[in-house]
C-alpha cells in the first residue's frame, strides 16, 4: 500500500460511491426495477387489510410511535392505484422525480401495513429502501420520457457522467449485502457452526411440507435431499457461506461474479424446496449488472453488427 490507511480508505470510499458514471446504466435499472415491481404486484390487493379485525393489530415501530392506523378498504384501494400508477410512471420515466417520490411514500405504507398484522416478513424491506434511494436520485435522467422530452428541446443536451448515477446503485448493493450478511450473522450468533453441523437444515426441509410458510414448496425434492447423509449439511454450508461472504461482492469483482448469481440461485432454491416467497426481492438484483455493457456485448454477438468499444465514451480520467 502506497498511502496512509486513512487516505487510502477515503480514496476507496470516494471511488466506490462517487465514481462518475453514465446515466444509462441507472436509467435502465430504474426502468427494469419499477417495471418488474409493477408486474409482480399488479394483481396484489392491499385493500383487504383495511377490513381486518383490529384484534390482529400488532403495530410496527413506525406505526406505533407515529399513531398511523390502517386506512379503510376504500382508501387503500385508491392508494394502491396511486402506487401502481406512480410505478408505471417511474418505469417509463415520466415526471420521474415526483413519480418516484410518490411510489416510495405510498409503497412504504402499503408494504409495511401487512407487517402490523402478526408477523414481519423481510422480502420487501429492501424494496422500500431501493424505492427511497431512487426517489432521492437522478435515475430519470436517461432511458426515460423525461430525457426524450429534454432531448427534443435541446438535441445537444446529454447528461454528463456523474456520481449522481453511481451512488444510488451502490447504496442498494450495500443494503442487499446487509440483508445477506445479517441473515448469516444471525445464524452464527444464535446457533454457531451447529447451524451447519446439526440436523437443522434437514428439519427445515421436512417441516417445509407441513404448511409452515407463506407458500408451499414447488417440488418435493427437499424431502429426498433431506435423507442424504450429508446433503442438508452441505446445503447449509453453502447457504451460510454465501450469506456471510456476500459483502465481499461490494469490494471484489471476482467475488461479485460468484456471490451475486449464487445468492440469486439460493433464493430460487429456497423458494422451490422450502416455500418462502420473496415477492419482489429478486427484482432488486437489476442494480447489479452493468446494463450498458450487457447491451453492447449482446449487440456484438449479433452477426453483421460492428463490435462497439465499451467505455469509448468514458470521461477523461488520469489513470485510464
Amino acid at each position: 500500500m502506497t498511502a496512509l490507511p486513512v487516505a487510502a480508505l477515503t480514496r476507496w470510499w470516494m471511488h466506490f460511491w462517487f465514481e462518475p458514471s453514465a446515466a444509462s446504466n441507472l436509467g435502465i435499472a430504474r426502468l427494469l426495477f419499477f417495471g418488474l415491481l409493477l408486474l409482480v404486484y399488479l394483481r396484489e390487493d392491499f385493500s383487504a387489510w383495511g377490513g381486518v379485525s383490529p384484534t390482529f393489530w400488532m403495530p410496527l415501530w413506525m406505526f406505533k410511535y407515529t399513531g398511523i392506523t390502517p386506512l379503510g378498504a376504500d382508501s387503500l384501494a385508491v392508494l394502491q392505484i396511486c402506487w401502481k400508477v406512480s410505478m408505471l410512471l417511474s418505469a417509463v420515466g415520466l415526471l420521474s422525480r415526483v413519480s418516484m417520490v410518490v411510489a416510495f411514500v405510498s409503497g412504504t405504507y402499503l408494504f409495511a401495513l401487512p407487517h402490523n398484522f402478526g408477523q414481519t416478513f423481510h422480502f420487501d424491506a429492501l424494496l422500500v429502501i431501493a424505492m427511497g434511494v431512487l426517489a432521492l436520485s437522478h435515475a430519470g435522467a436517461a432511458w426515460s420520457i423525461d430525457a426524450l422530452i429534454a432531448a427534443r428541446r435541446d438535441p445537444s443536451r446529454e447528461p454528463p457522467h456523474s456520481a449522481e448515477f453511481t451512488w444510488p446503485a451502490r447504496l442498494i448493493w450495500v443494503a442487499m449485502a446487509f440483508v445477506f450478511f445479517g441473515a448469516g450473522f444471525s445464524k452464527l450468533r444464535h446457533a454457531g457452526i451447529d447451524w451447519v453441523l446439526s440436523d437443522t437444515m434437514q428439519t427445515f426441509l421436512i417441516r417445509a411440507h407441513y404448511g409452515v410458510s407463506d407458500a408451499d414448496p414447488f417440488v418435493s425434492w427437499g424431502l429426498i435431499l433431506s435423507q442424504w447423509p450429508w446433503g442438508p449439511r452441505v446445503l447449509a454450508a453453502i447457504a451460510l457461506g454465501t450469506e456471510v461472504l456476500f459483502p465481499l461482492a461490494l469490494v471484489s469483482v471476482k467475488a461479485r461474479r460468484v456471490l451475486v448469481p449464487a445468492s440469486f440461485c439460493m433464493l430460487l432454491g429456497i423458494r422451490a424446496l422450502m416455500g418462502p416467497t420473496f415477492g419482489g426481492f429478486l427484482v432488486a438484483y437489476v442494480f447489479w449488472p452493468q446494463w450498458t455493457a450487457v447491451g453492447q456485448r449482446l449487440r456484438a454477438w449479433i452477426p453483421g453488427k460492428p463490435v462497439p468499444t465499451i467505455g469509448a465514451q468514458r470521461i477523461a480520467h488520469p489513470h485510464t
Binding site: 480514496r11 383487504a48 379485525s53 398484522f117 450478511f181 424431502l223 469490494v251 468499444t309
Partner: protein, 220 residues
C-alpha cells in the same frame, strides 16, 4: 457462425465479466477483441487511484452522505442490537438450531355441512397467508391477557371474510357453518406422508353462525 472471437463458453464468461464489472472502466484488451474490466469497486484498484470529481455540489455531497449514513446506520444498529426496526432488520429467520421432530402450530378449520376442512390456501385466508395467520394467532394466545376473547374474534374475522369472499366469487370453497381453532401437532415424517393429518389436535375456539348457535345452544 465463426466470427473469429472467443468460443461460446468464453463468450458467456465474458458476458458475466461485463455484467458484474464497472462499465466505465472497461477497456479493449489489446489484440484480444474482448472487453475486460480492470478497475471498479475493488480495493486494490482504487486505493492508489486519484479521485475523479464527483460533479456534486458540496451540499448535495453532504446530503448523499446523510442518506448513506441512514441506510448503513439503520442496518448496523439492527444487526448489532439484534432488534427488528422494519425496514431494517437483523434477518433472524431460520437462525436457530432446530432438530425437533415435533411440529406444533395453530390452525383454523372451517365447519362444513358434513365435517371440517382446513383453511390453508391464500384464497381462503386472504389477505393473510397460512404463515402470517398462524404466527398472529400464536402471538395473540401467548402475549395477551384477553387471549380467549381475542382469539374468538380473530377466528370469527377469518371466517366472516372467507364467507364474504366466497359469496362474491373470489374463491370456490365450500360454504362454512362456522370455524374452529385447533392447536395441532405432528411428528415429522421423513417424507411428510402425514402432512394432511395432524397426529394430535386440541380445539381451542369454536364460532358458528347465529342459527347454528341457537340450535346447538352455544354462545354467539
Amino acid at each position: 457462425m465463426d466470427r473469429g472471437g472467443p468460443p461460446r463458453a468464453s463468450r458467456i464468461g465474458l458476458a458475466l465479466d461485463d455484467a458484474f464489472c464497472d462499465n466505465d472502466f472497461q477497456h479493449m484488451r489489446p489484440g484480444s477483441g474482448r472487453t475486460q474490466m480492470d478497475r471498479g469497486t475493488g480495493w486494490k484498484n482504487n486505493v492508489d487511484r486519484p479521485v475523479a470529481p464527483p460533479h456534486l455540489t458540496r451540499r448535495r455531497l453532504w446530503f448523499v452522505h446523510a442518506v448513506i449514513a441512514f441506510v448503513v446506520g439503520g442496518h448496523v444498529y439492527d444487526v448489532v442490537r439484534d432488534k427488528e426496526n422494519w425496514p431494517f432488520s437483523p434477518y433472524p429467520m431460520f437462525s436457530q438450531v432446530d432438530e425437533s421432530r415435533i411440529h406444533k402450530t395453530l390452525r383454523i378449520f372451517g365447519i362444513t355441512s358434513d365435517g371440517e376442512t382446513p383453511l390453508l390456501s391464500y384464497e381462503s385466508l386472504h389477505p393473510f397467508d397460512q404463515c402470517r395467520l398462524a404466527t398472529a394467532l400464536t402471538r395473540i394466545r401467548d402475549e395477551r391477557e384477553s387471549a380467549s376473547a381475542d382469539l374468538r374474534e380473530a377466528v370469527r374475522d377469518v371466517w366472516a371474510r372467507y364467507e364474504a369472499r366466497r359469496q362474491s366469487g373470489a374463491h370456490d370453497g365450500l360454504p362454512l357453518l362456522g370455524a374452529r381453532l385447533y392447536a395441532v401437532q405432528w411428528h415429522l415424517d421423513a417424507y411428510a406422508r402425514n402432512a394432511r393429518q395432524p397426529d394430535e389436535r386440541v380445539m381451542l375456539i369454536e364460532v358458528r353462525s347465529p342459527a347454528a348457535h341457537s340450535a346447538r345452544g352455544l354462545e354467539p
